[in-house]
Each structure stands twice: as structure tokens, then as C-alpha cells.
């Protein structure tokens, strides 16, 4: 019975999670914030607050995390067992492995692994991440399960499925006979007013994210819920809060020592007739599987200390982790990318100054998913190691639409509306027109008027602030454009050559997006040389 409730709860939260991902798109007219799951996360709240050294401003964003903490203090790691969409995803794949005999056929993996071998790793990882945060490096976003799930579903599963749906229906719509059936289906999905599907989005490094997920999945073949028991820092934090959980489990005298519970526990929380409150995810599988009915749910602290399975790492390991965290700090300051790549790092509109941005950004990819123009993509090394997977604009793939939220919204940038940690500031329409993301510059060796001495003007047409202007010059045909050549002479033609008024350019990237030159555009957006951060409210 309990197990059924649990499965229903897991199903509900996973479907809700997926729904929030799929519907995180224009026009974003919703009551429930699309990023609500991340706001319930106390681990992310903690690392953001510590590394940014900001408490009061960040607290309201993560107020719901208090609910998670309260829930954990009372019911232990029930979040892991009943809510976490990443855990549920792993369970779904696990189910798939089991019914297809996949796990058994992968004989490369030992099946009789000691249950608790890697348990301590997650606590040590948590320690390292906390120490890094203390030193000002927010690395939690890479390892957090909700962030992982948001990235994987939003930047991998959704776009691939969406593409397959569109390509499949599109192809079938063209087939002579079947087309009459599939064309209306394709057209219905294409023309729907709120464009949830057929978004034509593709994300840089999505195959990388798929591989990472695949790796975590491969670890499942070794042990069920390997991520949860060995690696998850959120699980480790919730585990630490679960030591004195009120709603627990105890193994009574009826136990026949058959060790069935040890085998069926998905996280290996039972050993030697003892259950660890720190590992147990309240799934109640043991309660229902126990043939003797010896495992009971109890309210209050366990009768004796021997009931509790000790799992936490020894002091020495913790100290080593602290040292590791401290040693890793300078590595994250490394800037390994070439200067040209770093000069093209353009952040989303309303992004904080780079340091504050890196402290807050959860690397969750929600802003990338919501961007209606598919303009935001994860960085790799352009922002340094510390900036891995933070969002940047790639104008050749998509440009920033000003405004991108419907008129009914006061906030005009959708990316800011879904950012859980406020790394991207919300802007009104007036503020948006004055917020500089970057500055455009011409590459005169590629621009058509400069090179071919013919008018073009596509960039000026699309510029929303009319920052691109023209100078009419006379050119001698076949010679590079020079000022001072007199127009009207027989070999001379007039050409309108463009230039950027840098006081007006907001770096939205429309120009680079539409530039008709093949390959690299003749006008590009780069990091503004004199970046002025928006003053704090």
C-alpha cells in the first residue's frame, strides 16, 4: 500500500517536472513558476548564499527550501524517495533494465558488490563543494540532481524528442497517401498558439549532457540508485538532516535474519539488521517485502543506539576533503580559453557582473530552454573552468528578441523570469532597451559593401535600436573603399557602408543572426570593452 502511494507520488512529481520543462517557453503565462523544483532545493540555496556571501537577498528566492528541510527533519530522505525527479528517472530506467534482462546480461558488472562501499563518497563530495563555496567558487550546480535533471530533460530529452516528432510527422506528411492523415496532425501541432512543440531548438553540448547522463545510467547497472547512494550531494545534505528523523523504521524481534531486506533496499541502507536513517529514502520496500513483517514504521527516536547503522565518513576523510576543496579553488580561476573566444562571451540580458553571475548561476539550463529564439547555450571553457555550462548568447544560432515576453508581462526578458537564483535580473521594457549585453563590431574584410562595393543593409533592417548607420561613400570600382573619392566620376559608384554607433548598440545579436555572408558573419557581437554593471536595486 505504502509502495503504491510512493509510486504515485513519484509519478506525479516526475510528470509535473516534465510538464514544467515542456511548458517553459513563450509566452510563459503561468501561475506556477516553471523553475519551482529548483526553489525547493536547500543544497543549491546553501552553496549560492555561501559563495555569493548574500543571505537576505537570496533567501526569498529559495524560501521553499525551508519546506524541504522541515520535511526532511521529520520524515528523513523522503524527498529522495517520493519527490526527486532525477531519482524517479533512474528508477524508470532501472525498471526498463530489469524487464529486459539488461542488467543480468551486462556481466562486466559484479552483482555481489558490498552494499556500502561507495556510500561515503557523497559526503566527501558535499564537503568539497561546501569548502569551494566558502572560497567563493560555486560548483554545486554541476552536481546537483535537480540541476542535472533540468539540463538533461530540457537540453537533451526534450529537443531530441521534439525534433524526432517534427521530422517524423513532417516526412510522413509528404508521403503521397499517408500524407493525408499525417499532414493535418503535423499542421495542428505546428500551428498551435502556444508553441510547446516543434520548437526547432538544438543545444550546444547536448550530446555531452547525454553522455553524462548515460554514464550515471551505466552506474545503475552496478548498483540500483548508485547516484543516490554514492554521489548525490543533495542526498548527502538531506541525509545529514535525517539523523534524528521522527518518522523512521525499525527492525523488530520478529526478524528471521533472512537478509531479504538488504537485497531489496534500493539504496543499501540496511546491514546487519540495522537501518541507517541517513541513507534510508523512506521507500518502504523493506516493510512490504519482509516475509516476517518484522520491519515497522515507528514514530520517534529508535529505542537503542544499536539500531542505527553508522555510515558517515571518519574525521580523517573529511579533513582530506576540506584540503582538496581548498586546493581546487585556484584551478577554477584558470582561464583556459583563447582570448578571442573569451572576447565573444556575451551573457543573457540582465545578467549580473561576471563574479556575481558565476556565484548564482545554477547551470540548470532553464534559461536556455525558455529562450524562444534558441539563443542561449552552455559555455565550455570560454568563461573559464568556473563558468562551465553557464549560459551565453550565440547569435549565429539565435538572437535576443527585444522584447521577448508578451506585453502583459512587466518583466521583458523570459530568461530572467525562470532563473531560480536571480543570476539574471528581471528588466522592464525601458530598462531592456538600455541594457547592454555586448557590442557589435564590423568585420570589414567580410562585409559586402566594403568588399563587393554593393549595398546590403540587412543588419540595419533588423537592428531594434537603429545603432547601425550608413555613410555614403564614392568608391572606385575594384579598389578598396576609401573616403575622399569624389562621387560622380565615371569609374566611381556610391555605396552605403555601415558602421555601429556604439552608444546605441545593446548587443542583441540580430545583426549577426541575419547577416547574409556565408559562414562567420560580417558583423559580430563581442563583450563590451567597458562593461558597466547594472547598479544594485
Amino acid at each position: 500500500m505504502l509502495r503504491t502511494f510512493r509510486r504515485l507520488s513519484q509519478g506525479f512529481f516526475l510528470l509535473l517536472f516534465i510538464y514544467l520543462i515542456v511548458t517553459a517557453t513563450y509566452p510563459l503565462e503561468t501561475l506556477l513558476p516553471r523553475e519551482i523544483f529548483l526553489r525547493f532545493n536547500p543544497f543549491l540555496a546553501f552553496v549560492v548564499m555561501v559563495s555569493a556571501r548574500v543571505f537576505l537577498a537570496v533567501l526569498p528566492l529559495f524560501a521553499f527550501a525551508g519546506i524541504t528541510i522541515l520535511l526532511t527533519l521529520i520524515t528523513g530522505r523522503s524527498f529522495c524517495g517520493w519527490v526527486c525527479p532525477f531519482g524517479t528517472t533512474l528508477d524508470v530506467f532501472d525498471f526498463g533494465f530489469r524487464i529486459s534482462d539488461f542488467r543480468i546480461r551486462c556481466s562486466a558488472f559484479p552483482s555481489g558488490a558490498p552494499l556500502g562501499r561507495f556510500r561515503k563518497v557523497k559526503y566527501l563530495l558535499l564537503t568539497v563543494l561546501v569548502v569551494l563555496a566558502l572560497f567563493g567558487v560555486q560548483a554545486g550546480g554541476w552536481f546537483d540532481p535537480l540541476s542535472l535533471a533540468t539540463r538533461t530533460y530540457g537540453l537533451v530529452f526534450f529537443p531530441f524528442t521534439d525534433w524526432a516528432l517534427k521530422a517524423g510527422l513532417g516526412a510522413l506528411a509528404r508521403v503521397p497517401v499517408l500524407g493525408h492523415v499525417f499532414a493535418p496532425v503535423h499542421d495542428f501541432l505546428h500551428d498551435q498558439e502556444i508553441h510547446y512543440v516543434f520548437r526547432n531548438t538544438v543545444f550546444r553540448f547536448s550530446l555531452g549532457f547525454l553522455l553524462i547522463f548515460g554514464l550515471i545510467l551505466a552506474l545503475q547497472l552496478y548498483q540500483q540508485r548508485f547516484w543516490c547512494r554514492a554521489l548525490c550531494p543533495l542526498g548527502a545534505l538531506l541525509g545529514l538532516l535525517s539523523r534524528w528523523r521522527l518518522l523512521g523504521l525499525e527492525i523488530t524481534q520478529d526478524c528471521t535474519d533472512c537478509k531479504l531486506c538488504e537485497k531489496v533496499c534500493p539504496v543499501g541502507a540496511i546491514e546487519d539488521r540495522k537501518i541507517s536513517p541517513v541513507e534510508c529514502i523512506q521507500c518502504y520496500t523493506c516493510v512490504e517485502e519482509c516475509a516476517a513483517g518484522a520491519i515497522k514504521v515507528r514514530f520517534g527516536q529508535p529505542a537503542s543506539k544499536e539500531q542505527v547503522l553508522p555510515v558517515l565518513p571518519e574525521r580523517r576523510a573529511v579533513i582530506k576533503s576540506v584540503a582538496l576543496g581548498a586546493l581546487l579553488t585556484p584551478i577554477f580561476g584558470l582561464n583556459l580559453a583563447r582570448r578571442e573566444e573569451r572576447a565573444r562571451l556575451v551573457r543573457p540580458p540582465g545578467a549580473r557582473d561576471e563574479d556575481g553571475f558565476l556565484d548564482r548561476c545554477l547551470r540548470c539550463g532553464k534559461c536556455m530552454k525558455v529562450c524562444p529564439n534558441n539563443a542561449l547555450h552552455p559555455t565550455l571553457l570560454e568563461a573559464g573552468l568556473a563558468g562551465l555550462w553557464t549560459p551565453r548568447l550565440i547569435p549565429r544560432i539565435g538572437c535576443c528578441q527585444v522584447p521577448c515576453a508578451p506585453e502583459s508581462h512587466e518583466t521583458t526578458n523570459l530568461c530572467a523570469q525562470v532563473c531560480p537564483s536571480g543570476a539574471i535580473r528581471k528588466l522592464t521594457y525601458e530598462e531592456r532597451l538600455k541594457t547592454r549585453m555586448g557590442t557589435a563590431y564590423f568585420d570589414k574584410s567580410r562585409c559586402i559593401p566594403y568588399v563587393e562595393q554593393k549595398n546590403c543593409g540587412k543588419c540595419e533592417e533588423h537592428c531594434p535600436t537603429k545603432a547601425i548607420k550608413f555613410r555614403r561613400v564614392g568608391v572606385e570600382l575594384g579598389k578598396p573603399v576609401q573616403e575622399g573619392v569624389v562621387a560622380g566620376a565615371p569609374e566611381v559608384r556610391e555605396v552605403d557602408v555601415p558602421y555601429v554607433d556604439q552608444t546605441l548598440c545593446i548587443g542583441c545579436g540580430q545583426c549577426e543572426y541575419v547577416c547574409p555572408v556565408e559562414g562567420e558573419a560580417a558583423i559580430r557581437v563581442g563583450r563590451t570593452q567597458n562593461y558597466v554593471a547594472i547598479p544594485a536595486p
Binding site: L172, E193, Q401, K454, G457
Partner: protein
């Protein structure tokens, strides 16, 4: 009882090859029926022998109807009435395509798109004349879903009873164009094959084409990389008109954008002209508008600057001299 084959049963090499061959044949078969082909691969579509070139419904292509007044809807209805009424163009059971200018993610007061009330009036008239279906679409410049919504055209057209749709890849087919420079281009077949094609542009200046009126609005049914049209745009626009001939052009000059067109920077770039201009020949409509609307071109003869009209006139595609047009005016 024979054991059913499970996925986990190992197959031998022969079976594997057999299955692979069958799968490969099926995939190739799909190719035969045209899946996976991009529009560029297909041979250009010839205009069919029986002419689907729309014949002008009114006898005189040089006729231009103009209505001025405070109410854009009344103006729109008036110009159509002056041209013989919508029944002159739309017959019972027709499939009508209304192609407004839905280009920029700007609200109606910015004059960057056709005014939604004008679109609504056109749709209503078509349905009143007995159209079976009225489709409204355009290939936008900005993000399509935003542009359709912010411009107000999606809501107005839908309320009036039109099918508001986005442009779809499979309807762009490479089409031969008897132009001087443009020989073929992917054009939208839903527009070309419709029973009635009504072009509803808005009056604006344009940095490259100088003006964007009825002819430039037809770029909305062009596929491919339209940025390439910008080179020698004045000849290519005239070339488009050799192949694409809307049955009716209704130019929305409720406001005239005279600066920073075709997007416009603010409402200060608009002059309130409260006019609607209509005609069956896009060249004539454009020439009339170029000569009479306040575009502030700073030349005596606007056609000096608007080279695409010079080209169209030279190619015999329409009348550009005011004296030779039959202008019918109404003031409301």
C-alpha cells in the same frame, strides 16, 4: 506449446543480415516517395500549361481605388466596393489566402505590420462573399509566434473566422521565375495555388528597397535565404512580379512610416495618413502610393529613387505614370 521468440533470443548472422536488408529497403523506399529530400533537390516546378496566372478580375489593371477617413475598416470596405465589391474577386466556395505584412514583433500602434483591423475587415469581406476558407499567414522577420501575437493580427483574424497558420517547409517549392536576374526561387504553393490571393501590405520606407509596399510584401511567400535577395534587390523585386500576381492588393496607409523603416524605432517615425489604397496590379498600386504618400524621399520624382518600379515599368509589368492611372477616390 511453441515458445514465443523473445527479444533476448540470440539471432544468427543470416537472420541479422536479412533483417538489416529489409530495414534498409524500407528506408530507401521512403526516399523514393520523397522523404528526406530538401526543396532545393527537387526540380523547379514549371508553371502549368493551363494558366493559373490570376486574371485581373476587374477589366482595368490601371484602376486604383483610394479611401480616406478616420475609420480604417470603413476605408477598407470602401476601396473594395469601388473596385466592384469582393464578389468580383471571391466566389462561393473559394479558398482565399490573405497575406498581410506580419513581419515585426511590434504592437499595432508602431505601424510596422498591417493594422489588425484592416486584416479583420478583409477576412470578413471574403467570408461575406462566400469563401469556403480564408487562410492568413506570413513568413515573419522576427520570431513568428511572438510577431503573430504582438501585432494583433492573430487575434483579429481568428476572431473574424480565418485560419491563422504558420508557414510550413513542405509548401515551399522551387518555382521557375521568368525574371531578368531571378530565374527560380522557392515560393509558397499555398499562396500560388489558392483560388484567390489577396495581398495586404502596409506603407513603409525600407533602407534597401527604398519603399516597402505591395511588391515588397510578396517577399513573405519567398522561402530560402531571403537575405540573398538584398543584392540587386531592385531588379529581383521586379522579377518576382513576373510570376506572382495577387488578385487584389489592399495597401494599408492608415499610418505611413517615413523613417527607420521597415521596422521603425518609435511612433515618431509614423505619419497618420488614414488612407487605404487598392488595385489589382501591384506595380500600379506601388507607383500611386510612392507618388502620393508622405515618404519624405527628398526627390521631385519618387521613381528616381524607387528603382524597382523603374524596372517593372521597363519590363511592362504595370503602369507607373499617374496620368495614365484611373484613380477613384472617396472620402469618408
Amino acid at each position: 506449446m511453441p515458445r514465443t521468440k523473445l527479444m533476448s533470443d540470440r539471432i544468427d548472422r543470416r537472420e541479422f543480415l536479412r533483417r538489416g536488408a529489409v530495414a534498409g529497403a524500407m528506408l530507401s523506399g521512403l526516399r523514393l516517395v520523397g522523404c528526406g529530400k530538401k526543396d532545393g533537390d527537387a526540380a523547379p516546378v514549371e508553371p502549368p500549361a493551363v494558366t493559373t496566372q490570376p486574371q485581373p478580375m476587374t477589366p482595368n489593371p490601371n484602376m486604383v481605388a483610394v479611401a480616406t477617413g478616420a475609420d480604417a475598416v470603413l476605408n477598407t470596405r470602401k476601396v473594395v466596393e469601388l473596385l466592384g465589391g469582393m464578389k468580383n474577386f471571391v466566389h462561393r466556395g473559394d479558398l482565399v489566402v490573405v497575406k498581410p505584412n506580419i513581419a515585426w514583433n511590434r504592437p499595432p500602434d508602431r505601424g510596422a505590420n498591417t493594422h489588425p483591423e484592416v486584416v479583420r475587415a478583409v477576412v470578413v469581406m471574403c467570408l461575406e462573399a462566400g469563401a469556403k476558407e480564408v487562410k492568413v499567414f506570413d513568413r515573419t522577420c522576427d520570431n513568428a509566434e511572438m510577431t503573430y501575437r504582438t501585432s494583433g493580427i492573430r487575434e483579429a483574424a481568428k476572431e473574424a473566422g480565418a485560419s491563422v497558420v504558420y508557414v510550413k517547409d513542405r509548401f515551399f517549392k522551387e518555382t521557375k521565375i521568368p525574371g531578368e536576374m531571378l530565374k527560380s526561387w522557392p515560393l509558397y504553393t499555398e499562396a500560388l495555388d489558392a483560388d484567390v490571393f489577396i495581398n495586404v501590405p502596409v506603407a513603409k520606407t525600407h533602407n534597401e528597397a527604398v519603399l516597402t509596399l505591395a511588391i515588397k510584401n510578396l517577399m513573405g511567400i519567398m522561402g530560402g535565404e531571403r537575405g540573398k535577395i538584398h543584392r540587386h534587390i531592385h531588379q529581383k523585386l521586379a522579377d518576382v512580379i513576373t510570376r506572382v500576381k495577387p488578385h487584389l492588393n489592399i495597401l494599408d496607409a492608415t499610418t505611413t512610416m517615413f523613417r527607420y523603416g521597415p521596422q521603425g524605432l518609435s511612433v515618431n517615425d509614423l505619419e497618420k495618413t488614414d488612407t487605404i489604397i487598392a488595385g489589382t496590379n501591384a506595380v500600379t498600386v506601388d507607383a500611386y502610393a510612392a507618388r502620393t504618400l508622405p515618404f519624405r524621399l527628398k526627390v521631385e520624382d519618387p521613381l528616381e529613387m524607387v528603382e524597382y518600379l523603374q524596372n517593372a515599368s521597363r519590363m511592362g509589368l504595370g503602369e507607373v505614370e499617374l496620368a495614365k492611372m484611373k484613380v477613384i477616390k472617396a472620402s469618408i
